[in-house]
């Protein structure tokens, strides 16, 4: 008899450590991972994801699945913020709506690697070029979010806050975490092309260590998420609902696009997870800088306090069964 995939997902070390972190807050333990240690792990994960992704892309080359998939990924990161914006405008002003919507159009790298771990434990194959999709979905969502502010903001927004296109592009591509991911991807690609021995020597750092570092980081994420969750109460039930509904909605669109693209189940899950996940690194950083009118507690508490845990614990297995239900219809 098979174990329930949700239970199986929960029993993987990364998710268990996430729960341990969350429970420690619930029980008021004084367990703490002091700054800047979480930053070390977050930088490490971005570097390692990018580097390994660059190698995989170089290895797999540009097959005919690559271009359509990457294009669809970019499309989704452009469209989701628009949909999110329209929904959020029912309750929030332009600034908050744009900032939150951008977060949901962008992605969470840790959710992505959790999905990869899930696929590995289920022995389902996926392609390395999906990291390319991950890397390409960050910037467009930020651009859309900032353009929404630029064009929909009330006319009386002070001149000093006028957003020039150059500033928008700067925030979208040179944001620390976007930049590190993209440039590590390039390093991985170049290394794989011209210096294969460099890959072997990097492997213990970017490869073998990865899973453990992921667990350690998730321990901290559990603490942070559980500290954030209660603040959502102030944000109101509309936003709480949004933080659960929006990932599910995006996953639903994502799975149909994956079917349209004839992606295998592994790639399909990763694509769906990219659509369903929300950013708590790049987008908040960009919004904090350029849209100070938006309340950071809104866009951070929803993405970190609710959407992230939901995706990590329940979302990934749910999306997997969604993929298994909807995709075979067309591909078999």
């Amino acid at each position: 008899m098979e174990i329930n995939p949700i239970v199986q997902n929960v029993l993987a070390p990364p998710v268990l450590f996430f729960l341990i972190g969350a429970i420690s807050v619930l029980f008021k333990s004084d367990l703490e991972i002091p700054a800047p240690l979480p930053k070390l792990f977050s930088l490490y994960l971005l570097l390692a994801i990018g580097f390994k992704g660059g190698i995989e892309i170089q290895k797999s080359g540009f097959t005919d699945q690559v271009l359509p998939t990457l294009s669809a990924a970019i499309l989704m990161s452009l469209v989701i913020p628009l949909i999110g914006f329209l929904i959020l405008r029912f309750k929030f002003d332009v600034f908050n709506s744009a900032a939150i919507a951008a977060a949901y159009g962008s992605i969470s790298a840790v959710t992505f690697i959790s999905a990869e771990s899930f696929l590995e434990s289920q022995k389902i194959a996926f392609d390395g070029f999906m990291v390319g999709a991950l890397a390409l979905m960050e910037s467009p969502a930020i651009i859309v979010g900032l353009l929404l502010v630029k064009f929909a903001a009330p006319k009386n927004r002070p001149k000093s806050r006028k957003m020039h296109l150059s500033a928008i592009l700067h925030e979208s591509f040179l944001n620390g975490s976007v930049y590190l991911l993209l440039s590590s991807l390039i390093v991985g690609f170049l290394t794989a092309s011209s210096n294969p021995s460099g890959i072997v020597k990097m492997e213990p750092f970017t490869g073998q260590l990865f899973y453990g570092a992921e667990c350690f980081f998730l321990l901290d994420m559990g603490i942070v998420a559980a500290q954030r969750l209660p603040r959502l109460k102030n944000a109101g039930s509309f936003l709480i609902g949004f933080a659960i509904f929006m990932p599910l909605f995006n996953a639903f669109i994502g799975v149909f696009i994956a079917r349209f693209l004839s992606l295998g189940p592994g790639n399909a899950l990763l694509f769906v997870v990219l659509c369903a996940s929300a950013s708590y690194l790049a987008v908040p950083a960009a919004m904090r800088m350029t849209v100070p009118e938006a309340k950071s507690s809104y866009y951070i508490s929803t993405t970190l306090g609710l959407t992230f845990p939901f995706n990590i614990v329940l979302g990934i297995p749910i999306y997997m069964s969604l993929v298994n239900t909807i995709i075979p219809l067309s591909t078999l």
Partner: protein, 93 residues
């Protein structure tokens, strides 16, 4: 002699330092990794790895006239992103 305390998001640090340097302050001290709550926003240390970052606490010992010179620029910087600025008396040892 005056003491000027500025507390604001680390991300504004470059702008504030530029303002200080333009006014030719004799020196300044920066303490990063500060956290806190203002009338509008909340920052917590454990969120530092996220894009939000922490606060910086800048201390400047200088003459009143320098403060007067910088006042408008600093107010501008802080009004955009938030943050506080207070002056108190200080005597060199």
């Amino acid at each position: 002699m005056k003491r000027l305390d500025l507390i604001f998001s680390e991300r504004e640090l470059d702008a504030i330092i530029k303002t200080l340097e333009k006014a030719n302050v004799p020196g300044y001290t920066v303490m990063k990794h500060a956290t806190g709550r203002g009338p509008e926003r909340v920052v917590t240390e454990d969120m530092e790895f996220t894009g939000l970052g922490a606060n910086a606490h800048v201390i400047v010992f200088c003459e009143q006239e320098l403060i007067d010179k910088m006042r408008d620029n600093i107010r501008d910087d802080l009004s955009y992103y938030g943050g506080v600025a207070y002056i108190s008396e200080a005597t060199p040892l």
